[in-house]
């Protein structure tokens, strides 16, 4: 993997990362991107993304793995599908974003709040098939470690408001019916994912 902060101060194009991305389930669609930029402004969360999807794809092609993997772009994707609907090259951008999330988790690019939240959410969900907001929050902050504890208090007003509206249950909900089967499905999916990756 070429170091992009090479001494020349120039961005070195390197094809390895693009190949890695193209190898993902939907990654090869990226090849078709013609950099029109319609995704950049079709996205519901474009204002808070580090890079627009278009720019992210340009970075993938340039081989700038670190910048891509450490960006929040794919974590911010809300899967609203607007980009996919508008992409003139028919690229399923949402699915590409999903693949990138998977790649980030697999390769340990997890030290970002969004990654932590995704993990917390999933772990909470996978346990009983339902979400317990309190549980997600707790897991999230545990993952983030002491440095983010200060932010808990910043969120307290939101929490209290949700409490008063009955939107923040204090006790975890019951597991879904057929939890066992759910677990089997999750296990199977993991297995498939593992296979697909190799």
């Amino acid at each position: 993997m070429a170091d992009n902060s090479a001494s020349s101060g120039r961005l070195k194009y390197e094809a390895g990362f693009a190949r890695e991305v193209y190898g993902m389930e939907n990654g090869s669609y990226l090849k078709l991107c013609m950099q029109c930029g319609v995704c950049a402004v079709s996205c519901a969360t474009f204002k808070i993304m580090d890079y627009s999807p278009r720019r992210l794809f340009a970075l993938v092609r340039a081989g700038r793995k670190e910048e891509v993997m450490k960006s929040n772009t794919f974590w911010m994707c809300t899967t609203c599908l607007m980009c996919k609907a508008r992409c003139p090259r028919g690229i399923p951008i949402v699915d590409v974003m999903h693949d990138l999330k998977g790649l980030a988790l697999k390769q340990g690019y997890v030290n970002y709040p969004q990654a932590a939240f995704y993990q917390a959410f999933w772990q909470d969900l996978a346990g009983r098939g339902r979400i317990f907001e309190g549980g997600v929050t707790a897991r999230y902050f545990l993952k983030r470690g002491p440095k983010d504890f200060g932010k808990i208090m910043a969120q307290k007003d939101v929490g209290l408001k949700m409490l008063s509206h009955g939107r923040l249950p204090l006790r975890p909900p019951k597991a879904v019916k057929g939890k066992k089967e759910l677990m089997q499905m999750v296990a199977k999916a993991r297995e498939l994912e593992q296979k697909g990756a190799n």
Partner: protein, 732 residues
């Protein structure tokens, strides 16, 4: 012997209500002594037209003057066969629809127009077509590349004999060296074999095509249907006669040696697209420096093109050609890293789908500008560029091959040393390269537009040529790709065929198609001033050693520029001449000075200004009734003596309405309006000497859409004339 003329006045379309048609008829019968003058309320109706037809037969009319609507209308109704001269007097659009009814000035205008029309009919003769001996219809095609082969083959398929001349020992040209060509048919994603091999086989098998390789054109003289062509092969001349010529000598790649900035010439692994085709055709794309395989390659688009320091224009084909070549690399090594650095990807039309296909093969496209190419000790290249979308300086390292998509320069020019700027292709000094060796007074080759391409300047008429009967096709005419060259060559073959068909029956080609008249020279009075030979926009007139004009009627386009140029007025058409227009001017009834009714003669280009005047009428836009409009074939046919005729007749002002000239000229005869302007500038001095105000003569550029401005132009001029006061020569 005076001609037998009938005058027919239509009183429909409010002509009858607006004018005193009795008085009008008296102009014909009393003044002009035309016994046959009839009125009809609906002349273009079946009965009206029948009435004229009967009189033509019964009275043996040689000419009919139809005072009705514009000649642009009912042209088919008022067509009485090739042996009847028809003169249209435009009473509707240019008199009653643009001037008040029951008005003295309107009436005077109508009467003048009738006088002028009758005068013109009297002076007009039926043209006799120019037919020479030994006119031939075979087509000479110069250049045996894709365009030349196509033109030859297509002309032969229509049944015409063709002589195909190629300077190389083999046919095929530039496209013949290509490994594959870009997709030309659905689904527009797959590379195809080039059409060249098949074409060569067809051409060689055709009984109608005679192929001469290793041959050049040493000399061409004559004109359409009468070209005497001398070929030269191994120093041996041979000659034959041809009817029309297609020039398809192609383009040459831009001189990559000038692109040392991109490493060409310094590093063996920097190659041109042309060289890559050779490698691909031989089945081995490898590093030229050491024969090692190509793992990473960079295509640099616009290498020389779209670059003010080299070729300012876009070479049209390089984007698609490079996409195609990128696939060659992917075909050979699917894992190869292939980068294309571009300014804009120009994959027009269905090529967009090809672009997508090439992307899908993993070729990476970067909008960027290459700043440097360098080489390391292992002869790996590094390409530095500004990555425009990432906004950073970037580099592609360990590159095995850099392919420069060099643009194209027409084969009619060749590179020259700095300083020689005969014919600059962009900012590169070039000199004209002889291809045709025409024995023409105005030079041996096709005149070029920008950058040395002998293209047409007309959007509507891309085959318009300034050398009648000679049509450029393919990349010599304009930068284009294979598919476009094939179409272009087919179209050029069509025009060549059309030219020989028209010419062989004595008819003109575009834009006065079918015109049988041609200029005749009364040589006894020629002063060898050379104006006609110099000014003919089509180089139709040669000169002998004593500077006598030698007209080539089959090259003539019948614009009349020579007639306008001639100070001795020795050049005339049967139905268009200096005295004819002069007599029309003299037919105008000029009121006495104290009547305070100035008269203005307007010479209007019949292609644009005249229709604009019609449109003004159709929209009932009024304008000054002092004007008398005389349509001319081209403003370039305006002879200065008409200005003198007008002024000596007491006309107060002369206005010229012609097409836009300059770089974006709209004159259909290239420079007619410009020549008129130049002639007028000379008139100003003469007027000054005669104590006449130069303002009495004015030229305005109008186009067909300026119909709403034309009334203002006429009125302004009339106002200016009122300020100046009457022509002092009135009544002399």
């Amino acid at each position: 012997m005076a001609k037998k003329i009938g005058v027919f006045i239509c009183t429909g379309c409010s002509i009858g209500e607006a004018l005193d048609t009795e008085a009008l008829a008296r102009v014909a019968t009393k003044e002009k002594k035309i016994p046959l003058c009839k009125k009809n309320a609906f002349l273009c109706g079946r009965q009206g037209a029948e009435l004229i037809k009967q009189d033509v037969v019964a009275e043996g009319l040689e000419a009919v003057v139809i005072a009705a609507c514009s000649p642009r209308i009912n042209y088919d109704v008022f067509d009485f066969g090739p042996s009847t001269i028809v003169e249209r007097v435009n009473l509707r659009e240019q008199v009653v629809w643009s001037h008040p009814a029951d008005d003295e000035d309107t009436q005077a205008m109508a009467e003048d127009y009738l006088r002028m029309g009758i005068t013109k009919a009297q002076a007009s003769e039926l043209p006799v077509p120019y037919l020479a001996e030994n006119m031939v219809k075979s087509i000479l095609v110069v250049g045996g590349g894709l365009a030349g082969l196509t033109a030859a083959n297509e002309a032969a398929l229509a049944g015409y004999r063709v002589v195909l001349v190629e300077k190389e020992p083999f046919l095929g040209g530039f496209a013949g060296r290509m490994y594959k060509s870009a997709p030309s048919r659905p689904p527009y994603t797959d590379l195809e074999d080039t059409p060249v091999a098949g074409l060569v086989a067809d051409v060689e098998a055709s009984p109608l095509i005679e192929v001469h390789t290793k041959t050049t054109v040493a000399r061409i003289e004559g004109g359409p249907c009468l070209y005497d062509v001398t070929l030269e092969k191994d120093g041996q001349p041979s000659s034959f006669r041809a009817g029309a010529i297609v020039v398809a000598t192609g383009a040459r790649p831009y001189d990559a040696a000038r692109l040392d900035r991109l490493g060409y010439g310094r590093y063996a692994n920097v190659v041109t697209g042309v060289a890559l085709e050779d490698m691909a055709r031989e089945g081995k794309i490898q590093r030229p420096a050491d024969g090692k395989p190509v793992q990473n390659a960079v295509f640099v688009l616009c290498a020389g093109s779209r670059d003010p320091g080299h070729l300012p224009y876009c070479s049209s084909s390089c984007c698609v050609e490079s996409l195609k070549q990128a696939l060659y690399l992917k075909e050979q090594n699917p894992d190869a890293g292939v980068y294309v650095i571009f300014k804009d990807i120009r994959t027009l039309g269905r090529y967009e789908e090809f672009y997508k296909k090439v992307q899908n093969e993993g070729v990476i496209f970067i909008k960027g500008e290459v700043t440097a190419v360098s080489e390391d000790g292992s002869r790996n290249l590094s390409v530095e560029f500004a990555d425009l979308l990432l906004g950073e300086r970037a580099e592609a390292a360990e590159v095995d091959l850099v392919v420069l998509a060099t643009g194209m320069v027409p084969s009619t020019v060749d590179y020259a040393e700095q300083g020689a700027e005969d014919c600059p292709a962009g900012n590169v000094p070039t000199v004209q390269q002889p291809v045709l060796n025409l024995a023409y007074r105005q030079g041996p080759e096709l005149p070029a537009l920008n950058y040395g391409f002998p293209d047409s300047h007309f959007i509507c008429f891309p085959y318009e040529t300034r050398r009648t009967g000679i049509y450029a096709a393919g990349s010599v005419r304009a930068p284009m790709d294979l598919a476009a060259a094939t179409e272009d060559a087919t179209g050029a073959a069509m025009k060549a065929i059309q030219c020989v068909e028209l010419t062989s029956r004595g008819a003109a080609v575009h834009p006065r198609v079918g015109d049988l008249s041609y200029p005749e020279f009364f040589m006894q009075r020629c002063t060898q001033c050379k104006r006609c030979t110099e000014e003919c926009p089509f180089g139709a007139i040669n000169e002998d050693e004593k500077a006598n004009p030698l007209p080539n009627p089959t090259r003539c386009r019948r614009c009349g520029v020579c007639m306008g140029a001639c100070p001795e007025r020795i050049i005339s058409f049967k139905n268009y001449s200096v005295p004819m227009i002069g007599n029309m001017i003299k037919a105008i009834d000029v009121p006495e000075e104290d009547e305070e009714k100035p008269r203005i003669v307007v010479f209007a280009c019949e292609n644009d200004a005249y229709p604009a005047l019609d449109m003004a009428g159709l929209n009932h836009l009024g304008y000054n009734a002092w004007v008398r409009v005389i349509p001319v074939r081209c403003l370039g046919s305006m002879n200065l003596v008409w200005v003198a005729d007008s002024l000596s007749k007491g006309i107060d002002g002369i206005l010229l309405l012609g097409c836009k000239h300059g770089d974006d000229y709209q004159c259909h005869f290239i420079k007619g309006s410009e020549l008129a302007d130049i002639r007028l500038s000379k008139v100003a001095e003469t007027l000054g000497r005669l104590q006449l105000e130069p303002d009495r003569v004015r030229m305005v550029q109008v186009n067909i859409m300026d119909y709403d401005k034309v009334p203002g132009i006429l009125d302004d001029f009339a106002e200016r004339l009122v300020e100046i006061g009457p022509n002092p020569y009135k009544g002399f």
